[in-house]
């Protein structure tokens, strides 16, 4: 029997697993996308790379989609290039094929520098207009 205890800490779910739950590492590149008035939408190819401690069946999901982006079987490593247009921060995550428990998350942050409001770019009387 697999015993899973979930803790919620600092906005992330940590899992204390038995040895039967695979350890999985998921990374996404780029992890930051900057949008502004000239480029209001982030159009990018996101490279997802994952690696598990042992082979198995794994599926990759993305926010706002119930369908898996892709599933792999009997492998412990994989990668995928996912083209997407986004305007907000979103997450990819991986699960075992037979389970919906998230094994790993990878977040793509979308930073909006400005919108159409010109007042946000008005001359600042302070020397340092950095933020």
């Amino acid at each position: 029997m697999i015993v899973t205890i979930a803790f919620v800490c600092c906005g992330q779910t940590l899992r204390a697993d038995t040895a039967e739950t695979p350890t999985l590492l998921l990374t996404v590149t780029p992890s930051l996308c900057i949008v502004d008035r000239q480029t209001p939408v982030c159009d990018a190819q996101f490279l997802l790379q994952w690696e598990s401690g042992e082979p198995g069946g794994f599926c990759l999901y993305v926010e706002r989609s119930r369908e898996a982006v892709r599933c792999w079987r009997d492998v412990n490593i994989g990668e995928l290039s996912d083209e997407r247009s986004v305007v907000e921060t979103f997450e990819y995550w991986m699960t075992e094929e037979s389970d919906d428990v998230r094994l790993a998350n990878a977040t793509v942050e979308v930073l909006r520098l400005d919108n159409g409001d010109r007042r946000r770019r008005r001359r600042n009387r302070r020397v340092w207009d950095l933020l």
Binding site: V110, R118, R121, R122, V127, D129, L131
Partner: protein
Amino acid sequence: MTGAQPVFEGESRMIRNSLLLLASLSVLIGVAEAQSQGAQGADPLSQPLSRWRLGVALGYGFRENPLIQSDDVPILVDIDVAWFGDRVFFDNGDLGLTVTNNDALTLDLVARINSERVFFGRTNTRFITLDASGTTLDTPVLLDVPDRDFAIELGVEMLTDGDWGRLEVGAYRDVSATHGGYEIYGDYGYGWRQGRWYLDSAVGFSYKSQALNDYYWGVTEGETLASQGLLPAYDAGSGVNVSARLSVSYFFNQHWSFAMASEYERMNDHAASSPLVAQRHIVGYFTGLSYRF
């Protein structure tokens, strides 16, 4: 120069009341705007930028002080506090009312505090043993740089932008009976972004009227007497300051970035020739880590 300025130092009660009135009006209009906003709902695919712009930068920098017997203005912390409603906004001490906002331009009425006074807050008192011609004085003279007050100014600004960059022009007039003058300025900026890097540049000019220039940079007969003649009487005329800015940022994530910025300002002839001024060029520099909330 940091965002936290001693704005009320030496201010008259009238100025303080004016500020309170403007702040009260802004809060009232802001509450009304916030209520109308809440009823509109939000499009999840196009979340509006927060009305607030809050940030803090920690690092090291300075702004040169052109006054005699003065210290440069150190910059260790820079705070950014701004709120933008549909009609009103607060931007680091400036209170604005947006009159027109369309595809072509934005027109605002703005109340602000003149920043020229900031240099006078960092001067020193010194014993002077030589006069202007280099002759040794019989007895050392204690020389104070005369003080100046902050001024509340009301004005209008016009903002426009496009693929060619952004342009801002404006005019402000003193409404606090401090200097009684006015300023007309123009500022052109252009930014480039490449991945996580952002480079921004700007050049500008600022015409200072005779009354404004003379209040801050002139020397009155009384001040000449008080300095026992070390500061000769001086009437400053109008003039044009020019400036340039360059900043580079690298964004680590949504909140953190590394930033470098530099600014150069050349004072107009009449201000630069004042007995109160030791150097005509004002250079500012800052590098540090910035956190955006």
